[in-house]
């Protein structure tokens, strides 16, 4: 346990070494932004739209009462999406998609001696391979989460429009209600997202980079990356909520 923590800290320390050539690292950063962020947009938009849609139906069904105004549905959807569904659930999905991708990519590079090849050349392999991934995730994940929020509201809006479960106008009114608090909620969501981005990329990189063995271990590393990233996201989610919202 302590040994693993030590190796993890050693890995993080090496990320901040001066790059051999800034332009090469910048290109790697841009590649990772596309790989980790842009290529996740489809699944994120799909998940968010359906989450928003389901949330509208569930909320509208649960609070069907003449005493509760219709816009409450929009308000509840907004609060749920901003505070929990977009930053946490989407991050858990990204832990599965991006985390396993990172662990298997680095693991395969370890098995096929590509990491050794970098080291022999004199390249700081941790800085070159892992640094751009972490920085790219810290940059792009908040944007992905904002995108997810938009699609969540959009999905809810579509359900209102096609099923008329509540009028679209009431739904939009709910979304806009108490908008003075939106900034606080978005800041909370994005703070969580940045922490989750770091957890996902650093833990997955750790499991891939320090892999020993062959193809079987690559599979195990991917699984461990997803499991441990998810567990740490849940812990961090609780701690951050306690710190930022109460």
């Amino acid at each position: 346990m302590i040994g693993n923590l030590g190796k993890y800290m050693f890995m993080l320390y090496h990320i901040f070494f001066k790059p051999e050539k800034f332009s090469v690292y910048w290109r790697r950063f841009l590649d990772e932004v596309i790989q980790l962020g842009v290529k996740s947009l489809f699944i994120v938009s799909l998940m968010s739209a359906f989450m928003g849609a389901v949330l509208v139906i569930q909320t509208a069904t649960a609070i069907e009462s003449a005493w509760i105004p219709d816009y409450t549905v929009g308000f509840t959807v907004k609060q749920s999406m901003l505070l929990e569904f977009c930053p946490t659930i989407i991050s858990l999905i990204l832990a599965g998609k991006v985390g396993s991708n990172i662990a298997s990519e680095l693991g395969s590079m370890r098995v096929t001696e590509q990491i050794d090849a970098l080291e022999v050349m004199g390249v700081n392999s941790i800085g070159y391979l892992i640094g751009p991934k972490i920085l790219a995730a810290l940059f792009i994940f908040p944007i992905v989460i904002m995108y997810s929020m938009f699609f969540g509201f959009f999905g809810g809006g579509l359900v209102c429009y096609f099923t008329e479960i509540i009028p679209v106008k009431q739904y939009l009114l709910g979304i806009r209600t108490f908008s003075e608090d939106n900034f606080v909620f978005i800041r909370y969501a994005l703070t969580k997202t940045i922490v989750f981005a770091f957890i996902i990329t650093s833990i997955s990189s750790y499991y891939g980079y320090y892999l020993k063995g062959g193809a079987l271990e690559v599979g195990k590393a991917s699984t461990n990356a997803v499991v441990y990233s998810s567990v740490f996201i849940l812990f961090a989610n609780y701690i951050l909520t306690q710190l930022l919202l109460i």
Partner: protein
């Protein structure tokens, strides 16, 4: 020239290398031979610094590599080219990008100069018109040649080849061996080839180190190896019944 002095290395109490000393000569194809698990790869990893020896020193010409600071180590490493057993080409980069990688990372060459050097290296290893292909699109033999092109792109003083012809057919294996030998002569490099292939030994072995159970058992050249008296090496060289008959 690379000199190793009294190298020993253990893993979890098991001694893998025991007091190995040897001089790898400049401009020659130096071979480290031995059975699987004899410690050849561990010795090479100790030389290039991927592993730290428990005891002993490694000298690149007059530089004591084992006592260098990380920054100084990087300088020496830029003069090392290495061909790995499985080629170790970067999957996500094309043939051209693989060969250009060290040039883009460590030199201030313009893009035109980089491409010119890449094309020269690829031509030198007889890879033509494959620049935009990816490692997975080309054969194992071609991958080895691209890896050689990448290894020589920085004009290294030292070239390491870890089982360069493993997994290749005999004809391609000889072509790769000859290519390594020619490049060594052409650029006057200190080349170290790890192998257990007797064809390679007899083809290019100018200076040979035989290791068995982590111990240096013999050193010599390809002419001397056929008349060897050391039992372990004799068993290694004449393992095939055909060669045994030839010897008799």
């Amino acid at each position: 020239m690379i000199t190793v002095k009294n190298i020993s290395k253990s893993f979890s109490g098991v001694e893998v290398l025991k007091d190995i000393s040897f001089v790898f000569e400049k401009g020659k194809t130096n071979l480290i031979i031995g059975k699987s698990g004899s410690g050849k790869s561990v010795l090479t990893k100790c030389i290039v610094g991927l592993l730290e020896p428990d005891i002993g020193d490694v000298y690149f010409d007059d530089i004591k590599f084992s006592s260098l600071k990380p920054k100084e180590t990087k300088k020496v490493r830029k003069e090392i080219g290495m061909l790995f057993q499985g080629s170790a080409l970067f999957d996500s980069l094309s043939v051209e990008e693989n060969v250009a990688f060290p040039l883009r990372m460590f030199t201030s060459m313009s893009e035109e100069e980089v491409i010119e050097r890449v094309n020269f290296c690829l031509q030198r290893v007889n890879i033509l018109n494959k620049n935009s292909m990816y490692p997975s699109d080309i054969s194992g033999g071609m991958q080895k040649r691209v890896a050689i092109a990448r290894a020589i792109s920085m004009k290294p003083k030292y070239l390491f080849c870890d089982e360069p012809n493993s997994g290749l057919d005999p004809v391609t294996a000889i072509i790769i061996d000859e290519l390594i030998h020619e490049i060594t002569k052409e650029y006057q490099m200190t080349t170290i080839v790890i192998t257990h292939d007797m064809n390679s030994v007899l083809e290019i072995g100018e200076n040979i180190l035989f290791i068995d159970g982590g111990v240096k058992k013999w050193e010599g050249n390809k002419e001397e190896i056929l008349d060897v008296k050391v039992k372990e090496l004799y068993d290694f060289v004449y393992v095939s019944k055909f060669l045994q008959k030839m010897k008799k």
